[in-house]
Subunit: 426 residues, 2 copies
């Protein structure tokens, strides 16, 4: 099959490209590289050095002996989106090209507006271009389990049958998101559901849990690495905890730490997306997958990271800074996930084993972590309207070439092997 | 109380200003006059000639002997929104400044994006400015009953208590909107609910039914008239039916005509909004009002209009063109509306009496209706991605000064009394 991946330069877009190429699918990508810019904007970088795009592309083509076509451009430009579909006529489109950070969306009014307006605009452009050019193609749209919030009832896969006041219906499950970013995904879900209905499209809306890990079997050399973000804006709680442990910082479990979320390994997310692609929705079908394996509390993550750190001779303490977010401290959490197993999905990676792997891999990039230790602790407060000054005060966006390594100089950090990082790496 | 009305130049913004001034509230307005431009864009105009803003403002100030302050500007400009709040420090803000036409949002991809991105951006700007400048003020946000769609169960006011899989919760009622415009209101509801929660704001989200009528007791002269839109893009079904009957066109009840919606008279909507303003939400409270009086099917409206037309010696036929929208033909419809009556709301206007009034009033503007008879019949098709060419082919946006009246000349149509219309009237 021919698969277009929007946001192919991102954390999951890139390993998805490799995974699909390894399965003999034709992959086409598009990206505008804005995540690289936005991570710089908050003064951070990826722990893993990410080569400039042409090097990534060449490395993938070399590994698989297949073409990896690419279109540089912005989903905000409808003519561009339409032109890509006209040129490529993909069978499936995996739409990952969105602003994906909750704290980034909460920095201030402008980040809120950009997150919601850009995400919504890109999705609408894609839906219209699909309707006009490839109405038979299958859209796999990345959403988030965070759309549902933490209701006091089980969370079904998108829809539920209810009885209310003596009558019954099958209705979309109510959404209660927890950041402007998460709401942007709720809005996308509405637009994708509606477009599918009026235009008879095929769509799968993926309510994905939090991803963990940076390895997939196809990532066999440094030029094929995917990004690993660990700052407070772009890193997940687990990513920050591992990095905090490596850097000798306290592990910062926000609030009481009893908040529970669903998780899935990067590699298993790739398996899930491939299964969705290989088993497309029917014409006119809008289906929802809850894409996660297991739910963990923040404290469970913190304790797991602490335990694995101690195996390695580290001695992190767990701290509980006031929760910068507004979310339920203690809550019921039981989402259903049956659609993917019905397509043959089987979990392959356990959290603890991936955390061990993360410690091994990231220790090699310790100098890159240390150079950004000042952007790991929380700054962006949900209850505050303007966090921009605090973000800038904490960590003025730095010229990566000027960040001193442990030697105090400006030489790039050592890589475990392969090509050295360049100033343009992200 | 001091009340800021965003979108004060619009169909309901203007009579709300008059109603509140008549009740001794201080009224401040803002508008960018974009509705006037957009109605021209589709080749139409208001049946009632609307004077340029300075004349409206002067007429209102003269009538009530009170100042009507005004700020011209765009909600898309955060600095402007913030500056208005800093200057005025209102007690309540009624947010009506949004693109309000479903067919307009369905014209093509650009109208879809503009509708959703602009509506969402204006609301976010207002929420942030409130949080920073007047966190104690009360936001009355105009939504629509169309957010809910037509579920097979009763529609509660925003939230419902449910039992699901043996557990229970109070959850937002699921939204299933029927156009990009209606979805934009769903998105606003999410953002207002979330901002209220994280910033402890006060908000009332008004799920309003379809408005009907152009008279309120405060509209005592032509300079105080509100707009009456009747083209396929900006007019409601009822408005189009009345105009079709007056012009000797068939009454066009889309599809089978069994689609049911909730309705409320303009004057009773003003009463409702005033009650919301005078009984503000508590700090941290996000409350939802289903603001309508009675539900009617499209056929009921068509038959009522036909009956009243016949009383006046007209003989319209009812036709059923294919439904350009995608909506349930036949469905259950039972929304609850208890919150407003609990504040003392009492319906004052019956639909039939308002329809008679509309016939009387609009007949005086028959030449303005006749000049735009070509934009009354449906063009914008929900199932089609690009309707822009059809809209332009049907009715190239005309220079209103050049539209011939019944005399074949270019003189402005006669008004029943008061100042004559000008080329800049909308």
């Amino acid at each position: 099959m021919k698969v277009l991946i929007t946001g192919i330069d991102g954390y999951s877009g890139w390993p998805l490209a490799l995974h699909l190429m390894g399965r003999n699918h034709d992959v086409v990508g598009l990206d505008n590289f804005v995540t690289r810019k936005r991570v710089k904007e908050v003064g951070s970088w990826s722990a893993t050095p990410i080569p400039p795009w042409p090097k990534r592309q060449a490395a993938a083509e070399k590994k698989f002996g297949r073409l990896l076509k690419f279109h540089k451009g912005d989903m905000d430009d409808f003519a561009f989106v339409r032109r890509v579909l006209e040129t490529e006529r993909p069978d499936a489109i995996v739409h990952l090209a969105e602003q994906r950070s909750a704290p980034y969306s909460m920095i201030d009014v402008h980040h809120a507006v950009r997150t919601q307006a850009d995400n919504l605009t890109g999705t609408l452009h894609l839906l219209y271009a699909m309707k006009e050019v490839v109405p038979e193609a299958h859209l796999v749209k990345m959403g988030t389990m965070g759309e549902y919030g933490t209701p006091n009832v089980d969370i079904p896969e998108g829809f539920f049958e209810i009885d209310y006041q003596g009558r019954s219906d099958r209705l979309p499950f109510p959404r209660q998101a927890g950041s402007w970013y998460h709401w942007s995904k709720v809005f996308d879900s509405g637009d994708v559901m509606f477009a599918t209905k009026i235009w008879n499209l095929r769509s799968t809306d993926v309510m994905q849990g939090v991803l963990y890990g940076i390895r997939t079997p196809e990532i066999t050399e440094n030029a094929l690495l995917t990004r690993f973000d660990f700052d407070e804006t772009w890193g997940t709680a687990l990513n920050r905890f591992v990095v905090e442990a490596i850097l000798g910082l306290p592990i910062t479990a926000y609030g009481k730490g009893d908040q529970i979320r669903g998780f899935i390994a990067l590699e298993d997310s790739m398996q899930s997306l491939r299964l969705a692609i290989e088993h497309p929705a029917q014409a006119g079908e809008y289906r929802v997958f809850n894409q996660f394996d297991e739910a963990y509390s923040v404290n469970q993550l913190a304790e797991l990271v602490k335990r694995v750190a101690e195996e390695r001779g580290l001695h992190p303490v767990i701290e509980h800074p006031p929760n910068p977010r507004v979310e339920a401290d203690q809550h019921y959490y039981h989402p259903i996930h049956e659609h993917l197993p019905a397509l043959g999905y089987q979990r392959t990676r356990a959290l603890e084993e991936v955390v061990r792997e993360l410690f091994r891999d990231l220790t090699k990039f310790k100098r890159r972590l240390a150079a950004k230790r000042h952007v790991v602790m929380p700054t962006v407060q949900w209850r505050q309207a303007d966090n921009a000054r605090d973000v800038a005060r904490r960590a003025p966006p730095a010229d990566p070439g000027a960040v001193p390594g442990p030697s105090g100089g400006t030489s790039p950090p050592n890589l475990p092997s392969g090509p050295s990082t360049t100033p343009s790496s992200a």
